[in-house]
């Protein structure tokens, strides 16, 4: 459900499909298991996610909180997913970008 890749200075977590109530706990747990205390920069790539509900929004909040002040950038390309994250004002908490290159630039 989530694939992980460590790059030079960040951890890339890629989710595909959908993030809904039914799989939100599984995704949340997979993220928590893989992200260690030394992971201070994380890119969550949702470019292959085509649906998200309010439980899915909770997954992003959970990930942000688990980073304890670390930096999280989210890649979003689906217009519906982006609209949900904008309505719920997640964009005030987490930078939303449209490509991996932009995410890497945002991490610095």
């Amino acid at each position: 459900m989530v694939t992980f890749k460590r790059a030079n200075n960040y951890l890339l977590a890629e989710v595909s499909g959908e993030i809904v109530l039914a799989n939100s706990t599984t995704i949340k747990n997979e993220l928590k298991e893989q992200i260690g205390p030394n992971d201070r920069k994380v890119i969550l790539d949702l470019s292959k996610v085509n649906f998200i509900d309010s439980a899915g929004v909770g997954v992003l909040i959970s990930l942000l909180k688990s980073l304890n002040g670390g930096v999280l950038v989210v890649v979003v390309t689906d217009p519906g997913v982006l609209r949900v994250l904008e309505i719920t004002r997640i964009d005030r908490l987490i930078p939303l970008v449209s490509s991996l290159a932009e995410a890497e630039a945002a991490l610095g």
Binding site: V20, L21, A22, F51, D53, S54, A55, V57, G58, V59, I61, S62, L64, K65, P79, G80, R83, V84, I87, T88, R89, R92, L93
Partner: protein
């Protein structure tokens, strides 16, 4: 007008199945409006899961009634009724959710945005029959 009516219990997996069936039925009619299919699915999901999680008393009778009406060129309405709900006030909860989202303080709750999403994406949301029936209407182009 396309009309779909289903019932389900407060069992989450049964509710998910009903949501999938309804989405599959309306998908051909919204093939040219994928964004509207997304919003219909989202409103449907939030209202049904709201009834499952907060409204229903937890028994397994099919006490949640779900109705979707779609005019493919104009818009849709989603109506979810819960005839065996607990003491639950969706109006107050919706107001609270909207207030927290709009607040200057960062909102770090992991739950509690479903009704705010429904209200934001609908032209009109009505609460009837002592708030046990919620209907959300969306016109295309809004």
């Amino acid at each position: 007008m396309v009309r779909v009516v289903r019932t389900c219990s407060s069992d989450v997996s049964q509710a998910e199945q009903v949501i999938s069936q309804i989405v599959a039925e309306v998908t051909p009619w919204l093939a040219e409006r994928p964004e509207e299919l997304f919003y219909l699915r989202l409103i449907l999901t939030e209202l049904v899961m709201n009834a499952v999680q907060y409204g229903s008393s937890g028994d397994c009778r099919p006490c949640i009634l779900v109705r979707v009406g779609l005019i493919p060129s104009q818009g849709f309405v989603v109506v979810v009724g819960d005839r065996c709900g607990r003491n639950f006030d969706p109006v107050d909860i919706a107001k609270l959710q909207l207030r927290l989202i709009e607040s200057e303080q960062p909102d770090l709750r992991e739950r509690g945005r479903g009704l705010a999403l429904v209200i934001s994406l609908s032209d009109r949301v009505a609460f009837r029959h002592s708030n046990r029936v919620i209907s959300a209407k969306r016109s295309f182009g809004t």
